[in-house]
């Protein structure tokens, strides 16, 4: 019987209420922190894109003769002659009102541009995260249980390949193998929706999952191995508990580092999409960001950076909160604050 089950109903409800209060307070503080970070990031990104080499006027007009009127019209349209800080404050005031501006490169509202791309990137990230989880965690657990044996060495070698192969090379290799030699997957593009898109996203997702899966596998192996070698497990074995129960105890204890690394790799996926989407010609957020940075399309770069930063912050908060669920010690500590 657990401690909670032994409690009286009144006592349990008080505990639940105080847990909710603690959660709300923690969340509130974290959210304020996130807002501050987003503000700093928005300023840094704006400054970096502003300082980066390149000229919006040349990017728009290309390498051909132009009239001074056309140059003046573009400079006026994008307020290029305003001082840097004025341009930043203009942007942030509009952003606070929910107006993220218009993409300079695509001549469309940023929200329209992003909404057309989010689906692909979200699907790609989810699929690759799923592939990484499904493959890496069991492999890590197995590897730890069979430490030093052939299967452990094989898994370690595979993770080494996944970690060290650059994602663009891996992507091209996968294309060559599974689109060309064994033509079961398409070579490029995002497909026409539904199952077709899933089919198109499989190779990119695997290319993206390889590196992050390798990290996750190593983290899982290390965490499970540490638990299997802990006093608690030795004691459990001494008590003659069945191996299944022992494995459960070890996995539960190892859950925190595994979830932390899973959260961490989810943030890596966001960066990885830039390369993978370019190689597989996928119209997602990654390829959009790459083009936008090169073009100095500040409104798009700002919106994507903030979106990604907010996503990473959310993932971090969710991971932190999950500790309360997994570890009674963390839960008790939070409640006693």
């Amino acid at each position: 019987m657990t401690a909670t089950e032994l409690m009286q109903p009144d006592e349990q409800s008080t505990r639940t209420k105080s847990l909710v209060r603690v959660l709300a307070r923690t969340l509130g503080i974290r959210l304020l922190g996130v807002l501050a970070i987003l503000l700093v990031i928005s300023f840094l990104t704006f400054s970096l894109v502003y300082l980066a080499p390149g000229d919006i006027v040349k990017n728009l007009l290309g390498n051909r003769p132009t009239s001074p009127e056309a140059v003046a019209a573009i400079r006026a349209q994008y307020n290029l002659d305003d001082p840097f800080l004025m341009r930043y404050f203009d942007w942030i005031l509009n952003a606070l009102r929910g107006d993220f501006g218009e993409s300079i490169r695509l001549q469309q509202p940023v929200t329209t541009v992003l909404s057309a791309r989010l689906g692909y990137t979200f699907a790609l990230m989810s699929l690759s995260f799923l592939v990484a989880l499904v493959v890496a965690i069991p492999m890590g657990v197995l590897s730890a249980e069979r430490e030093g044996r052939a299967s452990d060495r094989l898994a370690s070698t595979l993770s080494l390949v996944g970690l060290s192969a650059p994602s663009f090379a891996l992507a091209i290799l996968l294309l060559y193998l599974f689109a060309m030699l064994i033509p079961i997957f398409p070579a490029y593009g995002g497909g026409s929706g539904g199952l077709d898109t899933l089919w198109h996203l499989t190779l990119p997702a695997v290319a993206l999952a390889a590196g992050i899966g390798a990290i996750l596998m190593r983290m899982t192996r290390a965490a499970v191995l540490r638990e299997l070698q802990s006093d608690a497990i030795t004691f459990a074995r001494a008590r003659g508990l069945p191996e299944r129960d022992i494995r459960f105890i070890a996995l539960r204890a190892a859950a925190i580092p595994i979830v932390t690394s899973a959260g961490l790799i989810l943030t890596f996926i966001v960066g990885g999409t830039i390369i993978v989407e370019t190689v597989f010609a996928l119209p997602g957020i990654g390829s959009l960001l790459q083009e936008a940075v090169l073009f100095k399309d500040i409104p798009v770069v700002q919106a994507i950076t903030l979106l990604v930063a907010a996503l990473i912050a959310t993932i971090t908060i969710v991971v932190d909160m999950s500790y309360l669920l997994f570890d009674p010690r963390v839960r008790a500590k939070e409640l006693n604050k």
């Binding site: 080499p53 728009l60 390498n63 003769p65 329209t112 070579a187 090169l294």
Partner: protein, 541 residues
């Protein structure tokens, strides 16, 4: 949970295949000694007369906007040529042919009168009115609505409807290249006024698409992904055999090659020179090379020392071994340029061979290291100097040429640091007042003989020099309405450039296009993709 020897074996086999595949990729990436197109026997294709459901085309980069007034890259022109028309067009030899105007005449030196085609319709079925055409001209000339094309119509005085099917356009001064500007290869792609106003001028985006009069209509556009052109039944010309043209944007060159090897691509534009061999090895297809009206040359900023000294400029031009660059580095896909004008740009006056004769007789800097040394010793930079030469990541051939020039200049005590930069950064270096030495890489769309030379030598040029003589010759050539007279004046302009080495021509380029052997194309020439090329495609057998 049960991993044992069988998966282990499978994994080993996988590794074997993987290593072999990697080796194959590395080999294909390294193999670069392609042979020029002349050595290749083009596939003997016959028109089967069959219709084609879809032709899949690969572009090496994405378009951001489909309206050439907004984004004016060469690929934008190629795409728009199937969808929108100007008053006139160019045929495969670069000569004017009717577009939306069936005929035209000059009533005086500055007045063009066009008779509008009566059977012209927009893709929505509405008849094209002279008012729509005048509206389109006005928008194309507006620097705010069309920053990409307004330059070309600066000299226009007025455009008016002067009859039921008649339009009169006047220029401020006699302007020999003006008719080109009223074609789809210049500044004019006719759209419907109602369509433009419905979208508040924001045409060519993924929401608004395009409204035109050509043989194909844009039915889908997703930037960084694809654009779909569907055949229409509103075009005045003969119904083309291809129903749909789907253009995919595939930026990674290895992915593009794999897709073609897999048979997913029927036509690929701008095959990279270094991959020419791999593309030619595709058994179901062929690679055709054609002069693409492009010009590559060295650009000097006359306000940046020591490039203000003509001897320094001449020394670099003389130390440049253009023949070796074209033969060894471009693998023969190009020609040594003796002038800024390409041979094709003289097509209104000379045929291809005669044009080459005329241009090769122009004075030019031949490769001569001893002479280059003398020139440098007679210059303000006799002790040598250090400079930077950047080239765009989309033009690796410029990079190899830069290395060759740097190697030769090193022997003369000049250090040239060659740096590859993204094309956006490279564009910003042109005429930035900091880079004394740079490349000019220009893809002409009009094929007009003065298009590039007036840009490089005229007022407000990126080299920051003012040459009264050059400007006089450009003005004179603009006013010379007889094509032969005009070319003669432009030849004098080339001599003037050579005398001062304002800028130094390197090569006239070629583009490589991959075609699946199931697809044929009629009249493949430097001008094909600048006209409605969809109807030129046929099912081959």
């Amino acid at each position: 949970m049960k991993t044992s020897s069988p998966p282990n074996k499978r994994t080993r086999r996988f590794f074997g295949v993987a290593i072999a595949a990697t080796a194959a990729l590395v080999l294909s990436a390294c193999s670069s000694g392609a042979s020029p197109a002349e050595d290749e026997a083009p596939a003997d294709l016959v028109d089967s007369g069959q219709g084609i459901e879809t032709v899949k085309v690969a572009f090496p980069g994405s378009l951001a906007n489909l309206y050439i007034g907004q984004e004016s890259g060469i690929l934008n022109y190629y795409l728009a040529a199937n969808v929108q028309e100007g008053l006139v067009s160019l045929d495969s030899e670069g000569k004017f042919v009717p577009g939306l105007a069936t005929e035209w005449e000059m009533t005086d030196d500055s007045t063009y009168v066009f008779t509008v085609r009566e059977d012209a319709k927009f893709h929505n079925g509405d008849t094209v009115t002279p008012e729509d055409i005048v509206f389109s001209i006005e928008q194309a000339a507006d620097p705010v609505a069309s920053p990409g094309t307004s330059f070309y119509l600066q000299g226009m005085a007025s455009a008016e409807v002067t009859g039921d099917n008649e339009i009169t356009v006047k220029t401020e001064n006699p302007n020999a290249s003006f008719l080109t500007n009223l074609s789809n290869v210049g500044a004019l792609v006719v759209t419907q006024q109602a369509f433009w106003e419905e979208h508040d001028g924001k045409v060519g985006t993924s929401n608004s698409l395009l409204m035109g009069t050509g043989p194909y209509a844009v039915t889908e556009f997703s930037p960084d992904s694809h654009v779909v052109l569907d055949r229409v039944d509103t075009w005045w010309g003969e119904q083309p055999p291809v129903e749909q043209i789907r253009i995919d944007f595939i930026p990674d060159e290895n992915t593009r090659l794999l897709a073609a090897q897999k048979g997913d691509i029927d036509i690929a534009f701008n095959v990279p020179l270094k991959q020419a061999n791999s593309w030619q090895d595709i058994s179901e297809g062929r690679v055709d090379a054609v002069n693409d009206l492009s010009y590559a040359g060295l650009l000097f900023d006359h306000e940046v020392a020591p490039f203000d000294d003509p001897n320094v400029r001449a020394a670099i031009a003389t130390a440049t071994d253009s023949e070796a660059i074209v033969e060894k580095l471009l693998h023969g896909y190009g020609e040594v340029a003796t002038s800024i004008m390409t041979p094709e740009s003289l097509s209104q006056v000379y045929d291809a061979d005669a044009a080459r004769d005329v241009l090769s007789n122009l004075p030019h800097h031949s490769f001569d290291m001893d002479r280059a040394k003398e020139l440098l010793e007679d210059s303000s930079a006799a002790d040598g100097f250090t400079t930077e030469l950047t080239y765009p990541n989309t033009g690796p051939q410029l990079g190899t040429a830069a290395q060759s020039i740097a190697e030769n200049m090193k022997q003369l005590g000049v250090t040239i640091n060659v740096r590859e930069v993204p094309i956006e950064e490279w564009l910003a270096t042109i005429g930035d007042g900091e880079h004394g030495l740079g490349f000019m890489w220009y893809f002409s769309t009009t094929g007009d003989p003065a298009e590039v030379s007036s840009y490089l030598l005229g007022a407000g040029n990126d080299s920051h020099f003012d040459s009264a003589e050059a400007q006089r010759l450009i003005a004179e050539s603009d006013a010379a309405l007889d094509p032969a007279d005009r070319v003669n004046i432009l030849l004098q302009l080339e001599e003037e450039n050579h005398k001062n080495t304002h800028t130094s021509p390197l090569w006239w380029g070629q583009s490589l296009t991959y075609f699946s052997n199931e697809i044929g194309i009629k009249d493949f020439s430097p001008f094909t993709f600048l006209g409605a090329w969809g109807p030129q495609l046929y099912a081959a057998e």
